[in-house]
Every structure is written in structure tokens, then in C-alpha cells.
């Protein structure tokens, strides 16, 4: 929202401080300043001059050779013997004796100041005449789109006067972020901003009479010329009209053009300019209709303007020339026959005023802000009026603004009738601000201040609240334009803000000396992050949303996914149901960026419709997951022996070891996965080279390599494997180290090579060996098994597993004899249980 210092300085009762000081105070007491625009930079060189002579140039059909009087103001410029400056001008209205505006050489044409290359005037010979700068049109001055002639100054100014001083274009505009004013319709007008500025400098503000004194309001009329009919009172709190006859629509006087130009609005004509100016002052949008056009659009003789709900498929051509088809239940303005405007958003083309208009209907109304918002969104129409109507103005300002607008129009044209207000309903009393009883102590307790009720009273009355104080109790009535004050906390905000929040002393909270317990899930995440990153893996975060492509590459059923229905990008269509596919999607780009050997992991959540609704949160359930991938570029994996599977498994085994659950973990073939969500993810894993991961009898994850389809769609190198595990299952596992007593006696190790049938897996053999050892060994004897190698001959039906067993006795020194005895017992047990042959 733009604030014009020249506009508000006439409204406040104190000398405004410097713009810099004002900007800093506005920042701390009202809202963020986005931009400060020094208009003077744009207009500083523009001079008011007198045209002394204008002689048509023979060789041209429109140019005149002129002499202008600048009172000798411009230095170092060509002058004739009388001291006048030669300028060539192409405007039809240039004539001797007129006052106009002049841009000397080296000045910038104001309308081009924001262009990439602003237009800088030069001395230019034209048809044998030197032109020193130019006389300017309204368009060149950025006041309107009028380029028919040069600006004529109607006033008593000395040649050489500064144009910007004469018309107060020497202004500073402070642009304040609109977000701050979501609930403050009054701050979308200069009057409201002036009031705020007064308040923050502790100066009492008094609104202009026309904004609140009943005697300034036009009388009501019920004559037959016009009728206001409100058929949607629940959506249209007030719908008031005025009728102005015998007027002339034409250019606005310069003072009005300038007031608008300061706030960045181009002049159109006197009627539209007045409505725009009133909106800039008060945030109340107005709309003007051509009365005769309304009449022609009516069935009956008179004109009734009706605010009503739209019917389905009703058509309306808007001011911008676009035809829209209405939905049911929006607000339209219509005659008894035809709709003529989309209420609060944009008028209709059929009733628009133009240069032939002689009578107008002015509408001032308020509309349901939600309805206006929705209508604006549906048709993509965003206007200054919509910005204001969606903040919820007070209906009480309508009559004041309408009356003032009529008054201003009367300063720009004759009016043949005595305007009055046509109204169909009075404002529902419920929308009036009621008296709030507020305890000064409560306010102090919320703010952390120690203000007296009288101080609070002063701060509030400065911005026109009515406040009476009795002891600690304040009775407070907010002025009608403050539609945001509902509860005592709103009043506390007002007091704290206008006084300055930065004045409040910062006092730390006191608390009991109790520790905060770590959040178990976040703590587990930290442990895992530390663990994996210290083993060379890189932590990744990727989007929670995935495209169709990723679902397809895992053959994941789209019905298992939550679908984002309004994503701007199709890449964000589905909530992911596993994380590993997101990680696989990151491999190729890193290979291309010359990473040859890397591991990545991500900790995150997955969602799926399979999981249903979480009972506790009553929102879609989720799972916490850890995903990991290991990849080597093709050039780096050539010499690697064995499957990539084991590389990821080493990481996972080691993680389980860290959490002391290695012995409870088993790896089982991918067949018959009972959990639907894991089954869906397993589609991407390659059978025979992948496993389900079990903690005891619960499936907690998947590990392995990937199908050719998956590999192809992610453009994976040959050597890739990965895993995904459920983190909830790891919660509560302890990573505390476990200590067992040391033996005073030396250890002995022994290698055993067992030949077993090819279809026996490692786990069966190692468990068989462990079982055999536990049966054979005394309680004083401990053993530790590790695998040395696995040997498989292509043609053979058996394979050889070599284990090393380390024996430790706590009671005695072990002899070879004891170990040999143990070994032969183990041999027979292994033979019995697994058909294993000791080699």
C-alpha cells in the first residue's frame, strides 16, 4: 500500500519528520516498508514556462518553432537576444501566451524514467531550427495517456517555477507491504495511514469531517428516477446509490490528475478519477454507471439497480471486453432485465460511462469478502477494488464516501440535479462495534509492560478510539472503520504496537531445573546419520512427492498412493510410498558428475493408502524409513568380484551390530511378502539377488539389487544395491556397548571347512555350527565363529564353507587334545544336522 507524504501531511496535525525517520518508525510500528520512491527524482527538472512565440514551420504540416520564457532558470542553454529559449513543438495546441511545462536538455522524460534506457533530451536540429528540449504532454509527464497536445497550465505561475513544487509532485511515496493489512481495510486508504502515522508519533488524529460527521451526508431520496434494490442482504450489507444528472464527462483538473499520479494511478476522466481518488483516500471502491444506458437496459420506464445472487450460466461482458459465464450464487448488479456488473470485482461493458455520458449512477456498497475473493479467483480478476473488498470494510463509511465523491465531482463539472442517496436497507446493527471492557492489568500482563490506564487511553484516543477509564477498567469503543477489534487482545496489540513493541523489556522465562528428554525418533535418526556418514555415506533429502515415472519404474500401483490434485508440476503428483526409488533417481546424475564410488542414504517418511488412517492423529498414517544405496560407476566396478548385494548388506549388518541385534536378524528370500506396502516396494527388487529383512519374526525391510526394468528406467550403472528398513522397529533398541569379562587364559583358533549340499545357505550352516558348539562346549568355554571363505566349483553339487572358530576358556589353558575332541563332536553333529562333511 502506497502512502503519499504530501497527501497525509494535510491530514495530520503535526509536522511530519524526515522520510528516513518515518520509514524506520513505520517499520517498527505498522509494517514492513517495501520501497521508498522519491517522486522528485522524476519531476525535478520539469519547469513551468510561458510560450512567447509559436510560428508554424513551412516545411512541416504540424511543427512550430517556438520561443519559451523560463525566467532565465536554465543555465548554459541557447537563448535569443531577448533571453528566450528556441524549442520546436509538434502539439496542435501550442500558442503564444500559454503556460505549459518544459523539459530542458539533459533532463529525463518522466514517463520513461523506469525504462531500461530512460529517454534523455538533447539539443536537436529539426528542419533548420534548433530544439532545446521539449514542451511536454500529459503522457510524457506520466499523468495520463493523453498525447493530443502539450499540458496547459491553468494558474498564476511565474515562468521558470518548478512544476513539481507547484503541484506537489515533490513527494515521497512509502510503499508498505500489504500482508500486514490483511485485517486492516482502513490502512488501504491515505486517511487510515495518516491516522496510524499520527498515532505512532503520539499526536491526536481527527478524521476529516466528511469521513464521520452525519451532517456531511447527502439526504435520502425516494423519487422515481432511481431505485436501489438489495436482494442479497446476507452478502451485501449495504448497497447505496446516487444519481448525478446533466454532467459533462471530460478531463480532470490538473490538481486531481496530480493527486492520482503521485500514487501511481493514471487519469482517465473526471468521474473515474474521483472514484479512484476516493478509493485511495478511504479504501472504499465506488462504481459509476451511465444512467441512460441503464435505462435502455431496463424493461420498465425507471431505473432499478439490483444487487442479487447470480443465476447459473448467466452471461456478462465485463469492462475489459471479456464475456464471462457466471456460476450460481455470485453477486451481480443488474437492472430489472440485464446484469450490468460483477459486484465488487468489475463493472459491465454495457453500462460503462464514456464521453457522451450526461447522467451517472454512483454506487457505494460493501460485499461479503469471502464471496468477492472466490469470484475474483474463479475469473482470475484482480483489481484494486478486489484487494480492498476482500479486507472487509465497514458498511458505515459508504454514505460518507459517496457524499464526498459527489462533492468532488461537482468541482469538476456542473450537475443539474440535487444529488441524494438511494438506499434499500439500513445497516444491520450487529456490524457496529460494541464497547469492550478491558482490564489495563490484563494488557500489561500480556505485553510485559507497566502502563497506566491513562497512558493506554491516550494511545488509543490518538487513533480515535473512544475510551473511558474507571480504575483498572477501560471501556473502549473502536471507531466504525476498525473492523478488526473484537477481543481485548486486539486492544492490547494496538496499545503495544502504537507505543512500540521494541520498548518492551525482554525478560527470560524462569523454569524448574528439570531435564528435557530427547525425542526417541529424532534421537534414533541422529544416531543413524552419525553411523552411516562416518562410514562414508552421504545423507540426502529428496522430495516427499514423486512423478508417475518413479511409480512405473518400481511397478508401484498408483492406487496405493496419496495423489496431490493441484500440484503446479506433474513431478509432484504422488506421495512416495518408499524412499529407495527417490535415491535411485539420484544415482545417474552423480555418476555423470564423475562420482565413481558412493553410498547415499535418506531418513524420511512414506505414505500410502494401504496404511489407512493413523488412529492417534486422524490423518493418513505413515512409516519412518531409512533407505540406502551403494553405487559404483561401470568403469569402477569392472574389477569388483561378487555381487553388489553384499556391499549394501555389509552396511546393514554393521548397523544392526551397532544396535546389538545382529543375532536377531535374518535375511529371507523375497517370496511371499505378507505386508502389502513392502510387497509394493519389492516389485523393484531383483528376485534371487534380494532379501526380506527380518527382526525376529517381523519383516522390517528389503535389501538387494534391482530389476532390469528399474535399472533401465533410472539409467543405473551395473553395480548398484540398496536397502530400505523401517525405523519404528529399531526404536528402543539400545546401542549401549555390552561388556563380557576377559579370560586370563590364551585363546585357540581352529578352521573348519564343511562341504554341504549347494542348496544349503550360509545362515543354515552357521546356525548349525553355532548350535553344535553350544551343545558340545562346557559353560566355561566360549566360542566365536567367523566365515573365512565359500568355495563352489561349477560342476559340483556341494560347496565348501570355511569357518574360523576362536575358543576361549575362562577356567583353564586349552590343549590341542581338548579342541580335537570338540572338533570331532562338532563334525558328527554337523553331519547329522546338515549332512555336512568336514574336509
Amino acid at each position: 500500500m502506497k502512502l503519499s507524504l504530501n497527501e497525509i501531511k494535510d491530514l495530520v496535525n503535526f509536522e511530519l519528520p524526515s522520510p528516513d525517520e518515518l520509514v524506520s518508525t513505520i517499520g517498527s510500528k505498522l509494517g514492513q516498508v517495501e520501497e521508498v520512491i522519491d517522486l522528485n527524482a522524476k519531476y525535478k527538472d520539469v519547469l513551468i514556462v510561458k510560450v512567447i512565440k509559436a510560428v508554424p514551420i513551412k516545411e512541416s504540416n504540424h511543427l512550430s518553432a517556438c520561443l519559451v520564457d523560463d525566467g532565465g532558470y536554465v543555465k548554459q542553454i541557447e537563448r535569443n537576444s531577448d533571453g528566450y529559449i528556441p524549442v520546436v513543438c509538434g502539439a496542435p495546441n501550442v500558442r503564444s501566451g500559454m503556460l505549459s511545462v518544459y523539459l530542458p536538455p539533459n533532463s529525463i522524460v518522466p514517463s520513461t524514467i523506469k525504462d531500461k534506457e530512460p529517454f534523455v533530451l538533447k539539443v536537436k536540429p529539426i528542419l533548420g531550427h534548433n530544439s532545446n528540449g521539449m514542451l511536454a504532454s500529459e503522457k510524457e509527464l506520466d499523468l495520463s495517456d493523453n498525447h493530443d497536445g502539450i499540458l496547459e497550465i491553468d494558474g498564476d505561475f511565474k515562468p521558470g517555477s518548478s512544476f513539481s513544487e507547484a503541484y506537489q509532485l515533490n513527494d515521497v511515496i512509502i510503499d508498505i507491504e500489504n500482508k500486514m493489512f490483511t485485517h486492516r481495510p482502513d490502512c488501504f486508504g491515505q486517511v487510515g495511514l495518516a491516522r496510524e502515522v499520527s498515532g505512532m508519533y503520539n499526536s491526536p488524529f481527527v478524521s476529516p469531517d466528511w469521513y464521520f460527521k452525519d451532517e456531511t451526508v447527502l439526504p435520502r431520496s425516494s423519487d422515481a428516477d432511481l431505485k436501489s434494490i438489495n436482494q442479497a442482504k446476507d452478502l451485501v450489507p449495504i448497497f447505496n446509490l446516487s444519481l448525478l444528472k446533466g454532467i459533462k464527462v471530460g478531463p480532470s483538473p490538473l490538481w486531481l490528475k496530480v493527486k492520482l499520479a503521485r500514487l501511481g494511478i493514471k487519469s482517465i476522466n473526471n468521474v473515474v478519477d474521483v472514484t479512484n481518488y476516493m478509493m485511495m483516500l478511504t479504501a472504499q471502491p465506488l462504481h459509476a454507471y451511465d444512467y441512460d444506458k441503464l435505462k435502455a437496459l431496463s424493461k420498465s420506464g425507471g431505473v432499478s439497480l439490483i444487487a442479487r445472487r447470480s443465476e447459473k450460466d448467466e452471461k456478462l461482458v465485463l469492462l475489459n471486453g471479456k464475456e464471462i459465464t457466471l456460476e450460481e450464487d455470485m453477486i451481480v448488479i443488474s437492472t430489472d432485465d440485464k446484469s450490468v456488473g460483477l459486484a465488487g470485482v468489475m463493472g459491465g461493458l454495457n453500462s460503462m460511462i464514456d464521453e457522451n455520458t450526461t447522467s451517472i449512477v454512483l454506487e457505494a456498497a460493501t460485499f461479503d469478502m469471502y464471496k468477492i475473493k472466490r469470484t475474483s479467483m474463479v475469473y482470475g480478476l484482480f483489481s484494486d477494488a478486489v484487494t480492498r473488498f476482500t479486507k472487509g470494510q465497514s458498511p458505515y463509511q459508504v454514505d460518507f464516501v459517496l457524499s464526498k465523491a459527489v462533492n468532488l465531482i461537482s468541482k469538476t463539472t456542473d450537475i443539474s440535479n440535487s444529488p441524494a442517496i438511494y438506499s434499500s436497507n439500513e445497516i444491520d446493527q450487529q456490524s457496529a462495534n460494541s464497547v469492550l471492557v478491558v482490564s489495563a492489568n490484563s494488557v500489561n500482563k500480556l505485553l510485559g509492560t507497566d502502563l497506566t490506564p491513562e497512558t493506554m487511553q491516550k494511545l488509543l484516543t490518538n487513533v480515535e478510539f473512544e475510551v473511558s477509564v474507571r480504575g483498572d477498567e477501560m471501556s473502549i469503543k473502536a471507531p466504525y472503520w476498525r473492523t478488526d477489534i473484537h477481543i481485548w487482545q486486539d486492544v492490547a496489540e494496538e496499545i503495544g504496537r502504537i507505543r512500540g513493541f521494541d520498548l518492551i523489556e525482554k525478560i527470560n522465562l524462569r523454569r524448574e531445573a528439570t531435564p528435557v528428554f530427547p525425542h526417541p525418533e529424532l534421537n534414533l535418526n541422529s544416531e543413524i546419520r552419525k553411523f552411516l556418514s562416518s562410514r562414508g555415506a552421504s545423507e540426502v533429502l529428496s522430495y516427499s512427492f514423486v512423478p508417475q515415472r518413479i511409480l512405473d519404474s518400481f511397478s508401484s500401483d498408483p492406487n496405493h498412493h496419496y495423489i496431490v490434485k493441484n500440484a503446479l508440476s506433474p513431478d509432484l503428483k504422488y506421495y512416495r510410498s518408499n524412499i529407495i526409488s527417490s535415491l535411485l533417481d539420484k544415482i545417474n546424475q552423480n555418476i555423470r558428475a564423475s562420482h565413481d564410488n558412493f553410498a547415499m542414504f535418506e531418513i524420511g517418511r512414506v505414505h500410502s493408502t494401504i496404511l489407512g488412517i493413523n488412529d492417534y492423529f486422524e490423518v493418513p498414517d505413515f512409516r519412518r524409513r531409512l533407505a540406502f544405496v551403494y553405487a559404483k560407476s561401470d568403469k569402477n566396478s569392472k574389477k569388483i568380484k561378487g555381487s553388489s548385494y553384499y556391499w549394501s548388506k555389509k552396511y546393514l549388518d554393521s548397523l544392526f551390530d551397532y544396535f546389538n541385534v545382529k543375532t536377531r536378524i535374518s535375511y529371507r528370500p523375497l517370496t511371499s511378502i505378507k505386508d502389502d506396502l513392502w510387497a509394493d516396494t519389492a516389485n523393484g527388487f531383483l528376485n534371487n539377488h534380494s532379501a526380506s529383512v527380518y527382526l525376529d519374526e517381523k519383516m522390517i525391510g528389503l535389501i538387494g539389487e534391482f530389476t532390469a526394468k528399474t535399472a533401465y528406467s533410472f539409467k543405473l550403472p551395473k553395480f548398484v544395491s540398496g536397502f530400505e528398513v523401517d525405523l519404528q522397529s529399531l526404536l528402543g533398541l539400545s546401542n549401549e556397548s555390552q561388556y563380557s569379562k576377559l579370560s586370563r587364559f590364551p585363546t585357540i583358533d581352529r578352521d573348519y571347512c564343511f562341504a554341504v549340499s549347494k542348496d544349503k545357505n550360509y545362515e543354515q550352516v552357521v546356525k548349525g555350527l553355532a548350535a553344535a558348539l553350544s551343545e558340545v562346549l562346557d559353560s566355561s568355554l566360549a566360542s566365536e565363529i567367523s566365515l573365512v571363505d565359500i568355495f563352489l566349483k561349477d560342476s559340483s553339487e556341494t560347496k565348501n564353507l570355511t569357518f574360523r572358530v576362536v575358543y576361549t576358556d575362562f577356567d583353564k589353558t586349552l590343549s590341542d587334545k581338548i579342541i580335537n575332541e570338540i572338533s570331532s563332536k562338532i563334525e558328527s553333529k554337523m553331519h547329522a544336522s546338515l549332512g555336512a562333511k568336514l574336509i
Binding site: 500482508k179 505485553l447 528428554f517 533429502l541 490434485k565
Partner: protein, 352 residues
């Protein structure tokens, strides 16, 4: 499948034969037949070239399809023993290796969340996780955003096709404030029975339906703070933020507030600190203003307390939110927010 163009049809048949015998089916896409076709393409005249080119592509697509269909049959070697620590015919010496330790890295966002929650933990704030799929009530209703309120439009929220019990779409939360109601509700009993204040920080992933550029991400991280107790003041709020920021940057800072509007706090502020990178001398991080707007905050609106079942006459509190991505970007001078979720190791490996 049959190709009209004889030249292509002949190539097709030749390729099919090769495909049958190939052990690695994918290699068909690199077949000399394709190479010859492309060579042929170059020598054709302009009239013939486009349609011939199209046909080659169709042929290639057909074989891409066959490769995917053949899926695992051709490529997979013998089954492996998934329970073993390493492959057949290998030994202990061939155990897979961890990647050299110096290459590991932690994501700067999770690291920063940890740092921030650690400070708040020391100040008595319990960490709580947020949700990635939430409902309309927690995103808006519980935070005093009336139905259809224009302030809702400031959040470009993602919504799902699937709907909740109340037939409204689920929502990808656009701020961590969506956890306020739950956190206050959870702490209500202890607050009322043993005067234990509610003090929580909630780091989480949040989402805005925006187009991406160097400064805008649709996915980013926020941290919400909530404190509710008796006689909690604006002064307490500002002191808490000051204490946190000074601990985080490990230096004394100056602070400014700017009034703001949030439906769920009253009063509401934006909290600015003096620039910790240049100590107010002016630098590109603070846009040469000496101050950086760092947090949105305010006193929890009585309606928000009421909706969480807490008596707003007896208790008051404050809430604040900080963008983690921005903290990290400022700290390291990261120029593009999109790097965070890019999975680019060149980026990630810089953060230990």
C-alpha cells in the same frame, strides 16, 4: 510387429535373431544393425530422411520394450546366497569395503535442525515431529483461519484427491504451525494439574505449491516453537528469541520487531536481528541494512488456545516459526535453494 519399409523390416528381423542369442539383452540397443541404419540415414535425400528416421526410432523403441520385458531372465546370473556376508568363491579378504571415511557427509538441513533443537532443548523445549500429510483443521481451522478466509490464500497448499472424514482433502502442511493444536492439547493436563508449562519445538518439512527458482522451493524446513503457561508476556517471547539467536550465532546481537498479521497470534511480529555476519556494517546477506528478518512470532491467539481446550483467561503463550533453509543458506552463502533436495553429491559432500 511388421514394418512397411523393407529396409527397416530386414533390420528388424536381423535384430530379432541377435536378440535371441544375446546374453545381456540390453546390448541389442548397441547392435551394429542400429549403427548401420543411422549411417544409412545420413546418406538419404531430404525427402526420405524424416520418415526413415522416424522408423528407426520406432524400431529402437520396440527393442527397448523387449529389453524391459525380458527383464531379469537374460541378465541375471545364478541366484546368490542372500544370507551370506560375501559371494561364493570369495574369502574374508574380499569382504565388501566401506567407502573411505573422509567422503561421508551429513545433510546441512538436518545438521542445522539438530543444532537448533539442541539449543532449545537446553532451554527446556521438548522436540516434537511434524506431519507431512495433515488435515484442513490443523492447517487452518485450529489456527483461527475461518473457512474461505483470504489469508488462507497466502499459503499455496497442496491438497490430495483423497479426503478425510469431513470430506475435505488432506493437506501437505504449508507451515509447522499446523502442530500447535496437537502440542497444546498434549501438554494441557500437565499444565492444568501441575502447572508445568507447555514448551515445545517442532522441526518439520513443509510445502508450498510454488514454481521453483533459486529462491523458491516447494519443499522446505521450518521449526515451530510453542510456549504456554501462566503470565507469559511479549517480553518473555522476545527474550526467548534473543537468547536462542545469541546462542545460535554465539554473539551478542541487537533486535527489532516489526508488527505483522497472523490469524493465529495477537499481537503478531516479525523479529529481526542485527546481522551476525557483518555486525551491522552492511553486507550482501543483510542487503546492506544491518538487520535480518529472521522469525515470525506472536502471542498465541485466545481462539487457538480455546480450540486446544486451554482456558485463555488463565493461560497465555507465544509461538514462533523460523525457516531452516534460510538459516543454512545465510550461514554458508548457498546461492540456490534447490540444491538442498537435489541429491547432488558435489553439494552434499561439502557438509561434514
Amino acid at each position: 510387429m511388421k514394418f512397411e519399409d523393407d529396409r527397416i523390416e530386414r533390420a528388424y528381423q536381423a535384430l530379432l535373431e541377435q536378440f535371441e542369442t544375446l546374453e545381456i539383452k540390453k546390448d541389442i540397443l548397441k547392435s551394429n544393425v542400429f549403427i548401420e541404419l543411422y549411417a544409412q540415414l545420413k546418406s538419404l535425400d531430404n525427402a526420405d530422411r524424416p520418415s526413415f528416421g522416424k522408423n528407426i526410432n520406432a524400431l529402437k523403441q520396440e527393442f527397448e520394450r523387449l529389453v524391459i520385458e525380458s527383464n531379469d531372465s537374460g541378465e541375471v546370473a545364478l541366484p546368490i546366497d542372500v544370507t551370506a556376508p560375501f559371494d561364493d568363491n570369495l574369502s574374508q579378504n574380499d569382504l565388501p569395503q566401506f567407502i573411505p571415511v573422509e567422503l561421508g557427509s551429513l545433510h546441512p538441513l538436518t545438521t542445522e535442525i539438530r543444532k537448533v533443537t539442541d539449543i532449545f532443548s537446553k532451554m527446556g523445549f521438548q522436540s516434537v515431529e511434524s506431519l507431512e500429510l495433515d488435515d484442513d483443521f490443523h492447517m487452518f481451522g485450529s489456527l483461527n483461519f475461518p473457512e474461505g478466509h483470504p489469508a488462507r490464500d497466502d499459503f499455496d497448499t497442496f491438497m490430495t484427491e483423497q479426503v478425510s472424514k469431513d470430506t475435505k482433502p488432506f493437506i501437505a502442511p504449508a507451515h509447522t504451525s499446523s502442530m500447535q493444536n496437537r502440542v497444546i492439547r498434549a501438554g494441557k493436563d500437565a499444565l492444568e494439574k501441575s502447572s508445568k508449562p507447555i514448551a515445545a519445538v517442532i522441526p518439520g518439512r513443509v510445502f508450498r505449491n510454488e514454481d521453483l527458482d533459486a529462491r523458491h522451493e516447494h519443499t522446505f524446513y521450518q521449526l515451530e516453537g510453542v510456549y504456554v503457561g501462566e503470565n507469559v508476556t511479549v517480553g518473555n517471547l522476545m527474550a526467548t528469541l534473543k537468547t536462542f539467536l545469541e546462542a545460535y550465532y554465539q554473539k551478542d546481537l541487537d533486535f527489532k520487531t516489526q508488527p505483522f498479521y497472523f490469524p493465529f497470534t495477537e499481537p503478531s511480529f516479525e523479529f529481526s536481528m542485527s546481522c551476525p555476519f557483518c555486525d551491522k556494517r552492511g553486507c550482501h546477506i543483510c542487503s546492506y541494512s544491518g538487520f535480518i528478518e529472521i522469525l515470525g512470532c506472536g502471542m498465541i491467539h485466545p481462539e487457538v488456545l480455546r480450540l486446544a481446550g486451554v482456558d485463555s483467561d488463565k493461560y497465555s503463550g507465544f509461538a514462533f516459526g523460523v525457516g531452516i533453509d534460510r538459516l543454512v543458506m545465510m550461514k554458508y552463502g548457498i546461492e540456490d535453494v534447490r540444491y538442498f533436495e537435489s541429491g547432488r553429491l558435489n553439494f552434499l559432500e561439502q557438509f561434514k
